[in-house]
């Protein structure tokens, strides 16, 4: 698969998997309004995923559509980050995941707007507005839960600690991505860490929360197709309907 296609697949898989996770909150959110909010974020991400997966299939040139890529790939062929596949757990964990990921995703796409690849630049231009809202949603909740009751503060701090080990993987760049950065196609995520820290620290301060320490070095591997245990179950749920009825249409 050409490098550009792999890159599009990485960004697309990030969005697709997180969209699937957020869908898990439908009918289970604390309030009806949050049901809609999380659903909306999931749909925004799904829209990004569809465009990116379709593009990856086109560049690959093997006739794979967005559906083929979403529903017929096995675990080892998905190239999303680990952070998006972590289970929802409680609302605080979900908001920690959203804060960390959307802050990263926004900074990445703000840079991607200048990509030499027209489609990626176009996707980024539209996505930036959507992701700004996702990040704001997480900001608002982390602030309120952190600076809330004793229980909400405890859970929110625990949520940060839970998701913190996944942060490092977001800022790693391998050879493939380094080459694309040099060509002006990909955004350089190693440059994003500073502003990511600044934003997250600002939110945590307002939330009276403590920034977790880097206690472990997680193995990562998402970009190489190596995933965590819950990912298999996520794929099973996401793919089984399509695989059960091959060729079915609405």
């Amino acid at each position: 698969m050409p490098a550009v296609a792999t890159y599009a697949l990485r960004l697309g898989d990030d969005a697709l998997v997180l969209s699937q996770r957020l869908g898990g909150w439908i009918t289970r959110a604390p309030q009806l309004e949050e049901d809609v909010a999380l659903g909306n974020i999931g749909l925004d991400l799904l829209g990004q995923a569809r465009t990116l997966l379709t593009y990856a299939g086109e560049v690959e040139g093997a006739g794979r559509t967005e559906d083929d890529l979403a529903f017929l790939r096995d675990e080892r062929e998905f190239v999303n980050l680990h952070i998006v596949e972590h289970p929802n757990e409680d609302f605080a964990v979900t908001m920690a995941r959203q804060l960390f990921f959307s802050t990263w995703q926004l900074a990445l796409h703000q840079r991607l707007v200048g990509s030499t690849d027209d489609l990626l630049a176009g996707v980024a231009g539209k996505a930036v507005k959507e992701i700004a809202y996702h990040r704001d949603h997480a900001d608002q909740w982390v602030r309120r839960l952190g600076d809330g009751t004793e229980e909400s503060h405890r859970r929110m701090q625990a949520g940060l600690e839970r998701m913190w080990p996944y942060v490092q993987e977001m800022f790693a760049v391998d050879e493939l991505e380094r080459a694309l950065v040099d060509q002006g196609v990909a955004a350089d995520v190693t440059l994003v860490r500073g502003e990511w820290d600044a934003h997250v620290d600002d939110v945590l301060r307002g939330a009276t929360l403590t920034r977790p320490e880097d206690l472990t070095t997680p193995p990562g591997g998402g970009r190489r197709g190596v995933h965590t245990e819950p990912f298999g179950y996520l794929l099973a749920e996401m793919q089984h309907l399509h695989r059960s009825h091959p060729g079915a249409t609405w």
């Binding site: 309030q31 009806l32 309004e33 809609v36 909010a37 909306n40 949603h137 608002q140 309120r144 009751t149």
Partner: protein, 119 residues
């Protein structure tokens, strides 16, 4: 007036058991807010419904999520339902009936020049 709760503009606004005020920490339900949206071509905000939110900032975002999904509007107002003071159905007759038979109050007895806009 006997009842100061909001009547709601688009069907029933659930009132039973719903605290419409800013409660203390032991409130089970978030406060209720009334939502008004101005459409892209509209001149005024129209009432579109209500929602629950912990505070004004979140109420605006919830309104955006729930009531502007299909590009219904470009401007949102949210008002705590408790701040809306409404007329009571009991007073409907004395409040509104007397105006019904006073034709002289209607601006229809003179010609309005065509050049006058938005009269």
């Amino acid at each position: 007036m006997t009842d100061v709760s909001a009547e709601g503009g688009h069907g029933a606004v659930p009132l039973t058991g719903v605290p419409a005020t800013d409660g203390g920490a032991d409130q089970r339900e978030w406060p209720l807010w009334e939502v008004f949206i101005r459409s892209r071509r509209g001149l005024s905000h129209q009432h579109v419904g209500s929602l629950h939110a912990p505070d004004a900032e979140m109420a605006l975002r919830n309104a955006r999520d729930v009531y502007t999904r299909r590009s219904e509007g470009v401007s949102i107002w949210v008002v705590p339902a408790a701040a809306v003071v409404a007329t009571s159905p009991d007073e409907k007759d004395s409040f509104f009936d007397p105006a019904a038979d006073k034709a002289y109050r209607h601006p229809t007895f003179y010609d309005v020049p065509a050049e006058v806009q938005h009269l």
